[in-house]
Amino acid sequence: MHNLSITELVDGLKKRLFSSAEITEHFLKRIKDLDAQFNSIISITEAEAMAAAKVADQRLAADDAPALCGVPIVHKDIFCTNGVRTSCGSKMLDNFVPPYDSTVVANFRDHGTVMLGKSNMDEFAMGSSNETSFYGPVKNPWSVDCVPGGSSGGSAAAVAARLTPGATATDTGGSIRQPAALCGITGLKPTYGRVSRWGMIAFASSLDQGGPMARSAEDCALLLNCMASYDSKDSTSANRAVPDYSATLNDSLKGLRIGIPEEYFSEGLNKGTEQAVQNALSEFEKMGAELVKIKLPNTGLSVPAYYVIAPAEASANLSRFDGVKYGYRCDNPQDLEDLYCRTRAEGFGEEVQRRILIGTYCLSAGYYDAYYGKAQQVRQLIRQDFIQAFENVDLIMGPTCPSPAFEFGSKGGDPVAMYLEDIYTISTNLAGLPGMSVPCGIVDNKPVGLQIIGNYFDEARMLNAAHQFQQATDWHQLSPEGV
């Protein structure tokens, strides 16, 4: 049952082949039996899930069922859930129970999904390996010695281990695409503004974007149909109609122009990964697409620019965690300064503190122009690179990340090595473009991903291409051993 796709689950529920209660119980049991190995779930919401499944079954019986009625899902623990602890992977929010739902969670509720639990993540979404979580690292289901990627490593591992058919995730510099690639699943970061950020705990507001993870593009389309919305509570939300992403999945790729940026095939790229990506591109050619060499000359500047802008925004976004109103507060504060200093020193982990310090420094008097101001200029250049490229091509493709999943601790001592993990994904966040990762091969017994970058609000075309690729290949069907 856990190998069924979301599409098949929706169909089976409608035909009463099984009930939502049955599949919910099945996935909850898998989480309880198997997740000790992976640590992908922070909170299991069993009682709420069974109650929601019961309601879903009643609605299905009454033929009053919304699109995803009765389908189980896991939400990344960055999305606020009314009455359910939302930790953001941090000690700071270990005791935080929001009295409101994020718009994403509300949208899924409205579409009848059943929340199984909240997934593990890098603390405040800061990390590429899921090693910074207060709740311990997530293990990659393909190899438990390896990282699942981050920051949405819990969601990716849970989908890969078949603990849930789909999950929500967020992507600030690659946090959906990189773990999707490392865990052999499909994940999509939509255009900035497509998915509401209301109730999604902010890391870097101008870059953060929620998106779906599932095993296939077809399933991601179903999830995005319900996840994307215009939200008047988010000033940066895009006020434009949400297309039916499932409707165009089977369009022909004949004549599709795919841009191949030469900067994405440079030195740091693992040979096996490169070969897998080249093989995937050949598949697209076979389907009638045309490969076009393009240049994105400012790609090299994306990591440094990102590591100024994202920490700068984070340093302000995380100021609210001060021990005054909610969340962690240090014991016996001596005075106000002691309350602030110890609450934040004890409540935040090392990586979060590092980024707050970087961001604070970059915004400081005398440094603003050299760092933040310059980084914003670089951001414009990167955006221009893409706008120019999209004048000639429909999609851009390349590797999602430089290599397959690495072992725990292998980059822990060197933050910059870890930051380079996102070298191919960060540019799209800076430009606000949509990007996705689909499994395209196995290297060293571990999956690698093909990245598909689309033009603004062109998610339908990305999903169409990804689905056609998945019709022609079966990389997305492979599962980790023992799962």
């Binding site: 950020r197 507001s205 008047s232 940066t236 100021s319 609210r320 109103k325 909610y326 400081s364 008097a365």
Partner: protein, 485 residues
Amino acid sequence: MKWETVIGLEVHVQLATQTKIFSAASTAFGAEPNTQACAIDLAMPGTLPVVNQQAIDYAVMFGLAIDAEIGMTSVFERKNYFYPDLPKGYQTTQLEKPVVGTGAVTIQLDNGDTKSIRIHHAHLEEDAGKSLHEGDFRSGVSGIDLNRAGTPLIEIVSEPDMRSAQEAVAFAKKLHSIVTSLGICDGEMSQGSMRFDVNISVRPEGVAELGTRTETKNLNSFKFMEDAIYLEVERQIDVLEDGGDIVQETRLYNGETRKARSMRSKEEANDYRYFPCPDLLPVVISDEHVEQLRAKLPELPDARQARFMEQYQLSQYDAAVLGSDANMASYFEQATAKSGNAKLTANWVAGELSARLNAENISLAQSPVSAQQLAGLIVRIADNSISGKMAKQVFESIWNGEGDADQIIESRGLKQVSDSGALEAMVDEVLATNSAMVEDYINTDEDKRKKKLGGFMGQIMKASKGQANPQQVSQILAKKLNQML
């Protein structure tokens, strides 16, 4: 040495919107602590701001009223600092691109001259909450009330164009007059609706270069502001004349002790690390919208004063007093429409009523005497139904909620007796029962007789229980006594 004072003002004006600048929580004053703070105001994780269009419109209206450049694209920024009553750890404000650019405000000086004070800019921002250190809070524990957090403000920043406390107060009062006339602020100083930060420096007369300035923060009355300026100017001159230097610093003035102290020096000042707020888009205002707002601008104080002089024949002084305050102006016009006597109405509104409101420390909006009721009283003064002295008693009774002027005059029998037959009878009786006084009057030298009239008047007024019309009585008395000579 003669010293010149140089003053610039930063004025925080709370905008009279129903809801906060970035949330739907109410801005009403005086609620139980933390009952008007929603998840956004509390900076709960994941919450996001959405700007209140009304606040933007109000700021633009202010800009139009002072003939300022309007920022067609203005940008909210984050001003970062930690304080318990600042829930997000940053204040959302504007810096590089404010909604209102350069403009000017004209003030009137005591000698009747006018002076233009330049406005550097005015920007939109959110107010902070309040820290409570007294009352229920035991020593070492403070309370936080976030009801005020997120209340929309415009901060109006002047150029250092004022040269005395009087000019600064005139400027502050003029701003008060403008924002209340626009209806964008309730003007309630005691509730913190307008707060002043005063930048003060002194320099030897004739020197062009500005002296080192200090900033005295958070003054919430014109009186405190004036006093704080006097104190600070005196202090600075003393320091300089003793050969010392002025330290650039922020100072706090205590209105109760009438003393000021240093709060922090420039070296201790925060680095606020401003940067554009990524949660809010730049605020873009169309020319069309600006023109719609311009068309709807209400009458401004200068225009209203001119109209009062023209339409009601008021003196410049009365027109200034009544015309500068939008509420008072409207009260005056309502009362005049009913009383038909602008001059008398002006005297009563600017005189007795204002004095009484000030004494009780309440605003005109809370006045127990309505414009209709005051007009009713004025009608009876004008038609001689009651004397001026009685009018004050009647006013007192209206104030105390005892009814309208006519009801009070009627029920208390206060109506002035002006019937000449009745008055003659009264005079005759007093003259008949006081023959000794009459004798005395007749025997007094002619030039001293006038002084003796007062005794008769007193007797007659007493006999009439004060209701006799004194002018008429005086005429009748003089006539009768003269006949006896």
